[in-house]
Symmetry: C2
Subunit: 190 residues, 2 copies
């Protein structure tokens, strides 16, 4: 998706250590028009997937998942990292490594909003190692639901996330692919 | 806003102790079409406010703020509760009481995305005691920016939030007003 790639080139920052800062577009400040276009692109790719529900993880997944859900006219569920008082006592819970904190975080979904008859499309901002997305897959599987695809804004192809999801045998689609963040550069591939 | 009121009546749950559960619409599962309509309503109300930027707090503020931002064609910034590695070393930080955890949480905004020339519209899901919104006001003021309005999906009029914001002397608009959660009922006022 050329629009997103252009914006990352213009406004993204390679902080070194494999970290791409896109806080001005996605992770702290959000450009709603860009996010709407990204949602439309992901929705178009998965238009015939049979998805009945979109699943993401708070926090940075919410914006892309919501915009994709709007274009697909599907409900979106965001896995919570803390169990709010409004949740039932029995929930689906798994853990995933935190990018920012270096420890494990919990991801929690209420059985009220993820059921065994669902076909789940997972949407997130980044596909890097795939660990967060694998955690979302486990939550869907715990509910007996079927994961039918994975869509993200940005894939870092050098972190192996796509390979880690091969066992799912479902379409994995990213709007832009970053093949290298070496030497301070941001290199894209098709 | 009759659509939101109808949905809260049909799908919301009064959990007692002043807690309204809207996890099926807003706080865990989101109906993107409903949220889009809510964003359009808030955008219409603040159309002539002169806002240059929308400010909200992660997590539940993101969806209504993003949809409002889309209709107003403005950037949206969500205050983070933990400082990610991508943020600069010097940030604006304040604390606010947590509804779900009973302790204080930090709210953090990067100076990159909130500057002194901005006219800030604060959007959140709930106006209850007003404590979270007051924290967002402090962040805007720390940046030297001007708060020009506050919009929320739901106001619990019995928790005093509106009165706590009177010192701002700006429009405070909620799409629905809940006047009582006593006796297991959900009562609305105009």
């Amino acid at each position: 998706m050329q629009e997103l790639q252009n914006r990352i080139l213009a406004e993204g920052k390679n902080l070194g250590g494999g970290i791409l800062k896109v806080d001005g577009l996605i992770n702290h400040q959000v450009d709603p028009e860009l996010m709407d276009h990204c949602g439309a692109e992901l929705a178009a790719f998965f238009a015939n997937s049979g998805a009945t529900r979109i699943l993401t993880a708070e926090i940075s997944g919410i914006a892309p998942a919501l915009m994709t859900a709007k274009h697909m006219k599907l409900p979106v569920v965001y896995a919570r990292k803390t169990r709010p008082v409004t949740m039932p006592h029995t929930v689906y819970l798994t853990v995933a490594p935190s990018h920012t904190k270096g420890n494990m975080v919990e991801l929690i979904v209420s059985p009220e909003y993820l059921q065994s008859n669902e076909k789940v499309l997972i949407i997130d901002d980044f596909l890097a190692s795939g660990a967060t997305i694998q955690a979302l897959v486990r939550l869907a599987q715990a509910a007996g639901a079927e994961v039918i695809g994975v869509g993200t804004l940005i894939e870092k192809t050098f972190e192996g996330g796509r390979e880690s999801l091969a066992y799912l045998n479902v379409p994995v689609h990213a709007l832009v692919h970053i093949s290298s963040l070496d030497d301070g550069k941001i290199e894209f591939s098709d």
